[in-house]
Symmetry: C2
């Protein structure tokens, strides 16, 4: 196998064989192909695409590069939810404890921030001590006992994907249907789940910006899941503005806790419950949509979901007290606000630019080795369709990097489009793919 020839073949738009994909990926995972060759191949795949067969081969080699979990001994349904990523998307942090409180087993393997989007692991790690690197046995036992365990690609789960995912994050090769599909599905299949719901984001803050692309991705994901015998559905949901108002790791954790305490933003709760309903209905096909939502709302009302989050935080080494005393969490040194330059209706939010502003503030990574400042972030104060007054705060920004803060504030007004007549409000849940 000469890596050069495989890169060249794909750069010409030709189809790679299963053995070419396998040899290249396994050699990369073993450290025998360097990052710079893999990133060249990834860019060629990003631009030239992959056939369904190539995508399946990539999923297979990623899956088989490591071990698969076995939850057949679990007494109840085993399922997971995965989002394709966006800005302010903290659904997993609410949904995992809600479903666990309802007896569903959630062996959730999450990711870190990718491109402009945030990552569940980074958010969880904003809780002091929270350990997302449990060994697989500890995690397995935790899922059986507590019905939920929240980890990253600890241990030997899809090591090939783990290494490639980190590289895609910093080489602008994220928004690719075959690469996203293989990455997501290899991990989800390795979790050993019986059911899976995919939250495929669409809009200007999603990796797939058009409904057509999002639908193509959703179909690709669902077909791989079904091919492996997993009950799989997808919801295409809106990402033309952040979900909720908090962006940044601790900021989002705090908003999630408020959601579990019954004080969450409506859009965030709606998406959370809709995704949860998919899993509850897979587990019990007789359940109506309304009943599935009602069951979840009850775990919020009775505090059982929040207790589950605190319990799992404690069992994963985190300090659950910070979740009870949200306002004690340290704040970034500097803050400022982006103000509305004129009165009118908020018509558009440049959600991708918001995500990159978060990176600039310290809430995300520019390269693999960057560390994250959990206390940096933003609050967006209006949603599309809201009326705003000239001079009103649109965005409050926090950072420990004063220069970065100033830069974000200087460019901040470009993020918002204010118009004189009320805009069309994007619908939150667009389409269901099964």
């Amino acid at each position: 196998m000469i890596p050069y020839q495989i890169i060249e073949k794909k750069s010409q738009g030709l189809t790679l064989s299963e053995s070419e994909i396998k040899d290249f990926v396994l050699a990369y995972t073993a450290g025998n192909v360097p990052d710079y060759q893999m990133s060249a191949l990834l860019m060629a795949i990003f631009i030239k695409g992959m056939t369904t067969e190539e995508t399946l081969s990539l999923t297979k080699v990623m899956l088989e590069s490591g071990e698969c979990m076995d939850f057949t001994s679990a007494p109840g349904f085993v399922a997971d939810k995965h989002s394709t990523g966006g800005v302010g998307d903290k659904v997993s942090i609410l949904l995992a404890p809600i479903l666990a409180a309802l007896g569903i087993h959630i062996p959730m393997i999450s990711g870190r921030g990718l491109g402009h989007s945030g990552g569940t692991l980074d958010k969880l790690e904003s809780i002091p001590g929270f350990n997302v690197n449990l060994d697989l046995k500890t995690w397995h036992d935790l899922v059986l006992k507590e019905h939920v365990g929240l980890i990253g690609q600890t241990g030997n789960i899809c090591p090939a994907d783990k290494k490639i995912y980190a590289l895609r994050d910093v080489t602008a090769t994220v928004r690719s249907i075959p690469l996203i599909s293989a990455s997501i599905m290899s991990k989800k299949i390795a979790e050993g789940v019986q059911g899976l719901v995919l939250d495929v984001k669409t809009g200007n803050g999603a990796f797939m910006q058009t409904q057509d692309d999002s639908r193509a991705l959703a179909k690709s994901l669902v077909s791989i899941g079904k091919g492996y015998g997993i009950k799989t559905t997808a919801l295409i949901t809106d990402m033309n503005q952040p979900l909720g108002s908090a962006i940044g790791n601790w900021f989002e954790m705090e908003e999630s806790v408020r959601g579990l305490q019954g004080d969450g933003p409506a859009d965030l709760m709606d998406v959370t419950y809709a995704l949860g309903a998919e899993i509850l209905k897979m587990s019990n096909p007789d359940l109506t949509q309304e009943a599935a939502i009602e069951l979840q709302a009850k775990t919020v009302a009775d505090g059982s979901a929040f207790e589950k989050l605190k319990r799992i935080t404690e069992l994963q080494g985190g300090n659950p007290d910070v979740l009870d005393k949200l306002s004690d969490y340290p704040r970034a040194k500097y803050s400022g606000a982006v103000r509305a330059p004129r009165s009118g209706y908020l018509a558009k939010v440049d959600t991708m630019a918001l995500g990159f502003a978060g990176i600039q503030l310290g809430a995300g990574r520019r390269k693999i080795t960057d560390s994250i400042d959990y206390s940096s972030g933003m609050y967006i104060h209006s949603r599309i369709g809201d009326s705003v007054s000239s001079g009103e705060d649109m965005l409050t920004v926090y950072s420990n990097d004063e220069k970065a803060l100033d830069q974000v504030l200087a460019g901040g007004q470009d993020i918002f489009t204010i118009e004189q007549s009320p805009p069309e409000i994007p619908s939150l849940i667009r389409e269901r793919i099964e």
Copy 2:
């Protein structure tokens, strides 16, 4: 500057600004952008291309990343020749001493093997002790005194290009008109030459396989050179089979010496003299083509060109005795032959495959850190149009890696296409661009 955003912009086929190109390239050169991000950008450029303005910006930042030489004190004409690369292309090793013997100053900065093609530096280094890493002052003095100095991108000549060139070699991003143009021309402009002839290879062993692509590259190169006030012409020459019969570093050095001793293959000598004639005519516009060739042939006949090669070898730390005693050079441990499977006419040579076979034998690099085995290589025994008999040796192969040798021998017959009727013989010098 967020590298991710620049990579993404190019991956979408958009045009980068001069400052985006400059910031990215200088940050990479300074080590603040990692290899894996540059290789992603290179692949995006490779597939999506660059405008003329982007190519000029890239040439400029590469040139200005280092220092430029000044040969205005040279009493005679200062010029260079550059080839876009092929298999068995050892023209520089003959042409530099020939022109130096004729009083032209040749400040030649050459490259290493790139992709499937060989590199002049690697060939020179097959002479024990030959130092291609002279400091710029030593090299400058050598060119003034001896009329020729053969180095790599020693010191501070286009450091940005040097780093990018090494990366392109191993990421299949070589065959790109803007990347080739900027790389070649930044170095040649930095040499401080008055005249430049480009040997743009075309055919199945060239980076540009079609005459159209080769012409586009030649025009791009010539226009950049003229823009910088350098007399520049290009010859498009055939690379549908190796030049001469030797492939591999010492093998090619040996064949070059025989050429300077008056015993060179006709095709090699024809291309050498044609390129040399371009420079001699730039230096003296009254010279006819015939006289320009005659002058060069005389330096071979009277031994002055060979003496010049030995002299420069000695002054650059090499042992000139090996050039007098060619057969004393150590041979690779293993050898074998590829034989003609049937009688007929040699109709086609897969020249690219030959180049890759050379890499497999140890004569080239698969990744930056690989070292080269100078005693590995091949001799091709027939040229297109020659009649061959079943069982006749087509290719003799040498390597110190027995397994690699067996693999090359096993696939060797696929390199040659033998037909029953005489094929069309590709013309050697196709076109002149000025």
